[in-house]
Symmetry: C2
Subunit: 346 residues, 2 copies
């Protein structure tokens, strides 16, 4: 077996975010559930875009964000995901490559691109810093097992799969293709549950994939409670230990819990002023995996996750602005001063 | 003569900004002059985009920014400018309309749109908060006198023209078309010099337009020095008084000077942490005109300009994030506390 040349290969929906501020009344008027991600078709997306405020566009996508953050932390990273050959697709491809991420997936072109343009996510950020996401999947629905090159997967220590990929049907097959290729090459498979509503939509498939294919699970509190249909976090934590070798469960301002066999670590959140929680969970997973693939202890993996998440929620948008390598390198980082109080990891 | 139904009608290049951070070495390596705006063709734009860092897209354009800021201050505003019917064109149109601005110009469509897509400006923001702009004009080169509806111009108290419009040749005619229509309807014509290099390119045309057509001039220090080919600000201030009825000259952290006939007011800059100077001058003009069209005294016009500029330079991007109406409404605004120290109005 050859040595891996990548630390992380992310697979996910390739999406450009459109972020706008909105008040709570706007969510109520338009029937939007705060904090969730819902899928919309082209018509609904146009209608919502027509009534929302001025936007800022930046590359997003859950695994895409994770890849960009992990690369900023020094990890060697690749990403597979489908854009169309249009202006937003070129924006996505530019940004992820400019972040230092290897991105080999061919864009959809010709008439197919016109019919299914690059995906976008209309994100409404309320004054409480919560984000409410409305995703038009566009070209992402054409991502399939054919886009998963087993050689690319075998190159990476960890293949990281976002749960949102369970939504476009062809991509579910790609999940299994990727995990088979990873395990055949002796690599690890990491899964993010992405969203409580997404878990609701695909619970049985998630539980099967978790037990049979997953080595490392990322989930926030509402996602893990939804997966096990319980309202008690400790019950969920006990159940997840039986299903997967390693789980990192984020709990917002309460920090995160890392469970691996008999080990259990509680890691404090990093205090910061919360401006926009978009991408918090993605950044946590990036920090965790960037540290893990450097063989750092689990407590440090959780700490890197907490630092990366704190950076991303301290400003508008899901991709990092600060020098993340510097933030994790300094043990006496001012962000880590006492008391390690309120922060939000979504 | 009927009453005007708009306060301000802006005419300018309709551009989507792509903002990315860069260090000084990057500017040197790629031969870029810090602080300026240069025009690039499609090939140069692609090449620069290929090497610059991850970007954030937001609607821009000098007059477009001014219109968005003025609308945020409560002015009734319209904008004329040319986008193509493509993804970035739809972003521009959405954002300016969502800001409350009337935007009637038809987009370029069909094959013309494919050949000349929506304009974009690649903006590199260095650690000193300076912005260096590289503009691909795209569809803007097709904006012509035919796009200036004299009835739209007659509807507004002030027509506001950005100097950058002297670059695409067909638009120069549109300038005269607009100023003729404005004066025929008894309205005012405001001009922004936009950029010292732009003044350099079109000095004779600017001086003629200033003397013959302009009622209100906006310029920063380097632009007004370039216009009069002097290195002494007071010399330029004396000359401009002979050429135009009213001039607002911005001097970065030194504040601004407003000259109108025998009146002269010096207005302090509003202190703020400077993150990105993109749009500082556009925001100053917006504040000034929003106050002027409410018949506020000239000192208040300058004060509104300074407050709007301070808001825009305190964050990434040229469009406002804070509630500008609230900022100008409070005379004892904390931003206006003593001492009124360093700020930057570009």
């Amino acid at each position: 077996m050859s040595e891996p040349t990548l630390d992380i290969l992310g697979i996910g929906n390739a999406i450009v975010d459109v972020l706008a501020r909105a008040d709570d009344d706007f969510l109520v008027t338009h029937g939007l559930d705060k904090g969730g991600m819902r899928l919309v078709d082209a018509g609904e997306a146009d209608k919502l875009y027509g009534v929302m405020g001025p936007g800022v566009e930046s590359s997003g996508g859950s695994a895409g964000n994770t890849c960009a953050v992990a690369a900023a932390l020094g990890a060697k990273v690749g990403f597979l995901g489908k854009v169309a050959d249009d202006q937003l697709g070129r924006v996505f491809a530019h940004d992820i490559r400019a972040a230092g991420v290897h991105f080999p997936t061919a864009p959809l072109d010709g008439e197919a691109a016109a019919a299914t343009p690059t995906a976008r996510c209309l994100i409404l950020v309320t004054p409480d810093a919560q984000r409410t996401m409305n995703t038009f999947l566009g070209a992402c629905v054409t991502f399939s097992a054919a886009d998963v090159d087993p050689d690319e997967v075998a190159r990476a220590k960890v293949v990281y799969l976002e749960g949102y990929l369970f939504d476009p049907p062809a991509a579910q097959e790609a999940f299994f293709e990727a995990s088979d290729a990873a395990h055949a090459a002796g690599r690890l498979v990491a899964l993010s549950l992405s969203d409580a509503f997404c878990v609701e939509r695909h619970r049985a498939a998630f539980r099967r994939f978790l037990r049979e294919e997953t080595d490392i699970l990322f989930a926030n509190e509402s996602e893990i409670l939804s997966l096990y249909q319980t309202d008690d976090f400790e019950t969920a934590a006990t159940l997840v230990r039986q299903d997967v070798g390693m789980a990192a469960l984020t709990r917002g301002e309460k920090g995160s819990v890392v469970i691996a066999g008999e080990e259990r670590h509680e890691i404090a959140a990093v205090p910061t002023e919360v401006v926009d929680t978009t991408g918090a969970g993605d950044a946590y997973a990036a920090g965790f995996l960037a540290a893990l693939t450097q063989k750092l202890p689990l407590v440090d993996c959780g700490r890197w996750g907490a630092i990366a998440a704190a950076e991303v929620i301290s400003h508008f948008g899901a991709r990092p602005l600060a020098n993340l390598k510097a933030l994790v390198a300094v043990p006496e980082n001012p962000l880590l001063g006492n008391p390690p109080v309120a922060s939000v990891l979504g």
